[in-house]
Symmetry: C2
Subunit: 339 residues, 2 copies
DNA sequence: AGCATATTTGAAATCGATTTCACTATTACT
DNA sequence: AGTAATAGTGAAATCGATTTCAAATATGCT
């Protein structure tokens, strides 16, 4: 159906090699032949077949992004950073939605291994470090966003989960809270346990005894957040603040509070993480932790591309970006005098 | 680097043809040889090279989705429907974010033409029908979501924009409104002008004179909605209700109202379209029009795949799905007695 | 057992591009 | 003008799979 390079060559009265030269390096071809070829290409509406090209070149100039869940704006904003920078570097970006399933992450990873894409960026806290290392050690290119991986060939960018979690808890303590719930994501995710770690450290620093019953696991989704907090309500736990591992779960807390007539922040302070765009549309506005999402995407895709092209290999590999606690109405309320 | 089929063949002591047979049809090969081959595949960690396979097979079993903007949950929910159904049919889905730029839509369309993907689903109101027809007439497979295209080879699914727009306006009229703003997206988009059409018809039906100054164009984004309504406020227009062409733009209206201290719905009723998940987190909850997004995605991807495989070609091509006006707090307020 | 038939297998062609190598046509320079 | 250097071009090999066709082997039947 489509015209092939040999058709173009025939029409222009040259060899396929010449057509290829016109299309690619651009040198070593007379203006006259170039014009003939261009004309033929135009008339036949010729596009080089991607499969043939990729096969011959052993690369596809494309990058896969495996995102945890594209319904969550946290991921889509990172992706925009990736997209735009990749575009500038002539790479195509294919977005894969893992829908929170480790199995799908693995599935998409196989697109790397069959060489559909030259490299992959993972924004997924679920697969273990070891599993990722295994793939990289076979010679494939992976970069990671949102966690620190300790492998010389994996560029990564992240914010210090422990650090900002401490900030969140300290902020809550300052506002008089001592009984602070931590709503985790699924526990095997880095984002879960590192944020928990920060929570624990802050409690310790402030000499607040840790109450394990105040830690509940969710799934990083609204529903999981709702169910987790409901479990606590059902057990008649006493607490005055909730630190949710991300904004989506905080959303679930809002819903539960609304149903139960609990006032935020007067009766319950809520803080999330991600500065998901949804957070500022809530009433009251949700306090959260901002990360430079777009930038994180843009930086890491550059590093991945550089690495794939074997430039700058000795260069920096681990990047940390600062996060910022945005204290908004959902936690901006002193429940008692500071001691 | 990667093992090739010839390596597997050598290791198993058979020919590449046999390896291929083991991997594909599964028939015509002895249990004994099959085992030898499987063992070799396993040991070498062999994956067929996608480019070689695609080239030979002249297909890639992959579908591209060109979405207007992945930061908008309307699109990501449709995409989930596409993804899951495609997965069940053994197709890979590549999501492309057009970022509201017609230029990018065209760019991604070229991935179709270089055969990177077998077919494309467009969820983008921007490119003209003619432009899409042009591509299809060259023999490529395209399906469209969210608009009715009149081409025998293009499956499409949509809700009747004119119809639900009339409902929205009628609802507002019932609640006493006569000066109703229509916030359009960019005017060349189908979603814009069809929704405008419904708005106009409803006005006419209700004998309300059309005030052209109450129609403003946005860009389907929060910012565009904000700027559009601000232009009207600046001109000191009088109106009591806003019908925004989508929820994102309604978001902008909320922001403007908040800044100006205008109470929704008492001083201004607001209705959006899409039932974007964000809409129910707003205060007051946003009235909007719901479409079965997930289902739309799932249905159309099936049709596209069927068509690509040349089954069921005479089958139904145009699908309409019902939409539903969700009257929530943002418009649930009578501003005057019904006459 | 002997022949006809069915089943397994391999050699070679093929998909559509790029690139090397060799050859020809230019251009440059003495 | 004649030779050396350079630029432009084409033939053929190559990337790694699948598939056709024919050969080899196994099976079935009298």
């Amino acid at each position: 159906m489509d015209a092939k390079i040999i058709d173009v060559a025939a029409k222009a009265g040259v060899s396929p090699a010449t057509v290829s030269r016109v299309l690619n390096q651009g040198s070593s071809v007379t203006a006259k032949t170039r014009n003939k070829v261009m004309k033929a290409i135009d008339e036949l509406n010729y596009r080089p077949n991607a499969a043939a090209k990729n096969l011959r070149l052993q690369k596809s100039l494309s990058i896969g992004v495996i995102a945890q869940d594209i319904n969550n704006a946290y991921f889509t904003e990172i992706i925009k950073g990736i997209e735009n920078m990749a575009y500038a570097r002539k790479y195509k970006v294919f977005i894969c939605d893992a829908e929170n399933q480790a199995e799908k992450e693995r599935d998409y990873l196989s697109l790397l291994m069959d060489r559909t894409m030259d490299g992959v960026i993972m924004i997924t806290p679920q697969l273990s470090d070891e599993e990722i290392y295994g793939v990289v050690d076979k010679g494939y290119h992976i970069a990671v966003i949102g966690r620190n991986v300790n492998h010389p060939k994996i560029p990564c960018i992240y914010t210090d989960n422990v650090k900002f979690s401490r900030h969140v808890v300290e902020h809550l303590v300052e506002f008089g809270h001592r009984d602070i719930v931590f709503l985790s994501g699924y526990p095997e995710a880095v984002d879960s346990y590192e944020r928990l770690e920060g929570y624990l450290k802050a409690l310790k620093d402030n000499h607040i005894p840790f109450r394990p019953e105040l830690v509940e696991n969710g799934d990083f989704n609204e529903t999981g957040g709702y169910e987790a907090i409901e479990r606590l309500f059902a057990k008649k736990m006493t607490f005055t603040a909730v630190f949710a591992a991300n904004d989506e779960m905080a959303l679930g807390v809002y819903r539960a509070c609304e149903e139960r007539g609990i006032a935020i922040p007067e009766q319950l302070a809520v803080v999330g993480v991600d500065n998901n765009r949804i957070s500022k549309y809530l009433t009251p506005r949700l306090s959260t932790v901002n990360q430079p999402k777009y930038t994180m995407g843009a930086i890491i895709v550059e590093k991945l591309i550089d690495q794939m092209n074997e430039n700058q290999f000795e260069d920096k590999r681990v990047f940390t970006v600062d996060s910022e606690l945005l204290v908004r109405a959902s936690s901006n309320y002193h429940i008692q005098k500071k001691k």
